[in-house]
């Protein structure tokens, strides 16, 4: 068991290192130097040189990479060029928005997809199945930033039930949650569409299995056989898809954060790139990568919980 975990840990370490090299090189070749991005059109060459020195940009690339990597190991991510504050603090602030947003979106997506997918699978070709298929196809086709706009127009402005954007901070948890509801829904709808399709297909396949018939032969009703026997065994592909989606959600939320003006990780990365705040971008990408790797680990663990056959492997 330990050997297996060690091998996995080694795998993550290699991936982690690979990403750090990939990102650092990308940052080196991206055109436009941070100093000129800060000092604008009328800066003189010496002021630019002075700022580059201040930012520590004059050191050779290899040294800067090692300094950054060393910092990562000891937990200090360095100072942001634009704000001059520790990047760690900046990112934590933004994670306090992105993680709950993604969590809420996943909950909503599963909340919509599981019941819809399962009821559709219960009677293939029935009304529920038609509705689920339509929802799935439509949901996938519509971009999430577009749904976001519609939600703002109708729910926030038209009906006034929820704020139209912005984030009041976790000082007032109730208001913060209300602010996250609409963006989470905008993220959840396309994801739930894909999830519905996967759930439906998987449950339909499991319904044909013999043990579902055994359950019915024991006197279990159709719905009990469906929920107690078929669904638990249909979860593996659903979890796989969920794992893929979570990593997409975290990375893809830039657009929705933009439309709902949420100070999330996406916008931090977007602003940092515009201002060529390289240290912030590098660390944001590393944090993203860590989250995605953690999610994959979580998905593997979830497999073993759902399917005892996989338990032996973990």
């Amino acid at each position: 068991m330990l050997r297996h975990l060690l091998r996995r840990a080694a795998g993550f370490a290699v991936t982690f290192l690979l990403i750090s090299i990939l990102v650092f090189c990308m940052m080196e070749i991206v055109p436009g130097d941070p100093a000129s991005a800060m000092l604008g059109t009328s800066a003189t060459p010496e002021t630019l040189a002075a700022l580059r020195a201040q930012m520590g940009l004059d050191a050779p690339a290899a040294i800067r990479y090692l300094r950054w990597l060393g910092g990562l190991m000891t937990g200090s991510m360095g100072l942001s060029y634009t704000y001059g504050v520790p990047v760690g603090g900046l990112i934590l602030e933004r994670l306090a928005v992105t993680l709950p947003l993604t969590g809420l979106a996943v909950l909503l997506a599963v909340g919509i997809a599981l019941p819809l997918g399962v009821t559709a699978a219960a009677r293939p070709g029935g009304v529920a199945d038609g509705a689920a298929t339509l929802y799935a196809q439509a949901g996938i086709a519509v971009p999430n930033f577009w749904i976001g706009l519609m939600l703002i127009m109708v729910v926030a402005l038209g009906l006034g039930w929820l704020p139209a954007g912005g984030f009041p901070g976790w000082g007032e948890p109730a208001a913060a949650l209300r602010a996250l509801l609409l963006p989470a829904l905008a993220l959840a709808i396309p994801q739930s569409a894909v999830l519905t399709r996967v759930t439906r297909a998987s449950v339909v396949e499991v319904m044909n299995e013999d043990f579902v018939r055994t359950a019915r032969a024991k006197g279990a009703s159709v719905s009990r056989a469906l929920w107690r026997h078929a669904v638990p065994n249909a979860l593996v592909p659903v979890i796989t898809m969920l794992g893929l989606q979570i990593s997409f959600l975290i990375g893809g939320a830039v657009l929705v954060e933009n439309v709902f003006t949420l100070p999330g990780m996406g916008r931090l990365a977007w602003q940092a790139l515009a201002q060529r705040d390289l240290i912030v971008i590098q660390n944001v990408v590393m944090v993203f990568a860590t989250i995605v790797i953690a999610v994959n680990l979580g998905v593997d663990l979830l497999y073993t919980v759902v399917d005892p056959r996989l338990r032996r492997r973990a």
Binding site: L18, D129, S247
Partner: protein, 288 residues
């Protein structure tokens, strides 16, 4: 991860017991054919020149000026949609080609030899862990916005998906008895891959191709929203959608036209994918 390989869509069966999935294949096929048709005709003929501006005629509603009205610079929305179809489709097809070819190669190679497996999968993990939109922005900044950037940005992030799908499917095939037989017959890994593995997983790859095509069109819309898609004056659905955003109240048709176009295109491609999946996937035929 083989669970990922099974991503079949719904199976629409008509009462008279058609071959499984043929309804999806039919509808999907028709929609996609129309799409490709419109895209190609747009090269030869469009109601108006998509780039021609009549600023004084701007923001006119559908049927008031031209079939679908005009945009904020007075250009004819219908012509832009047609030319946009061509641009969006070519970008999507090219991007999927990049993703599919490289991804499949990586996946199959990974499934074939164990020493490739670890390395390729690590690279895929690394690529996969990079947030897609963010990396596209970085690529945009690197290569400068343009058709090439859009294709590379969308295509590169499909490689891990194709790699995982093909690796999962190929591993299943490798485990089959008839592969042992082929090995016994002295065939090398490469020949086995080409003759046995690829044909058997072709179904799943084609399904992924259609799904990823749909995703590519959406990602291109996202990129244009961030100003990274094809440069003007080439109209794309993504940029039309992005530019329509601030006119949502005055001219809703500006957002609806590209939005619906994307929806229909993605619907058609997905249905086509499902139909192909039902037709090509042997296991699926008995089950339904």
């Amino acid at each position: 991860m083989t669970a990922l390989a099974k991503l079949p869509g719904p199976v629409l069966r008509l009462r008279r017991g058609w071959r499984p999935g043929s309804a999806a294949l039919l509808i999907g096929g028709i929609l996609t054919a129309c799409l490709v048709g419109i895209a190609l005709t747009s090269l030869v003929w469009t109601p108006e020149d998509p780039a021609r501006m009549r600023i004084l005629q701007k923001l006119k509603g559908p049927l008031v000026s031209g079939l679908l009205g005009t945009d904020h610079l007075g250009r004819d929305v219908a012509s832009m949609l047609m030319r946009g179809a061509f641009n969006s489709l070519t970008t999507a097809f090219a991007a999927v080609a990049v993703g599919a070819v490289l991804g499949t190669l990586a996946g199959v190679a990974a499934a074939a030899g164990s020493k490739f497996d670890a390395v390729l999968m690590r690279i895929c993990d690394a690529l996969f862990a990079l947030p897609p939109i963010l990396s596209a922005i970085m690529l945009g900044a690197l290569l400068g916005p343009g058709a090439l950037t859009a294709i590379v940005a969308i295509g590169v992030f499909m490689i891990p998906v194709f790699a995982r799908v093909t690796r999962g499917a190929a591993m299943q095939i490798w485990a089959r008895e008839y592969i042992m037989a082929a090995r016994m017959a002295g065939k090398g890994t490469a020949r086995i891959t080409v003759e046995h593995v690829l044909p058997n997983i072709a179904g799943q790859i084609i399904v992924q191709v259609t799904i990823q095509l749909a995703m590519a069109i959406l990602t291109e819309a996202g990129l244009s929203f961030l100003g990274l898609g094809l440069p003007p004056p080439a109209p794309t659905w993504g940029r039309m959608l992005a530019e329509s955003q601030t006119y949502l109240l005055q001219a809703p048709h500006l957002a609806l036209a590209p939005g619906l176009a994307i929806a229909v295109a993605v619907l058609g491609l997905n249905l086509l994918g499902d139909g192909l999946a039902a037709r090509l996937d042997p296991r699926r035929r008995q089950a339904s």
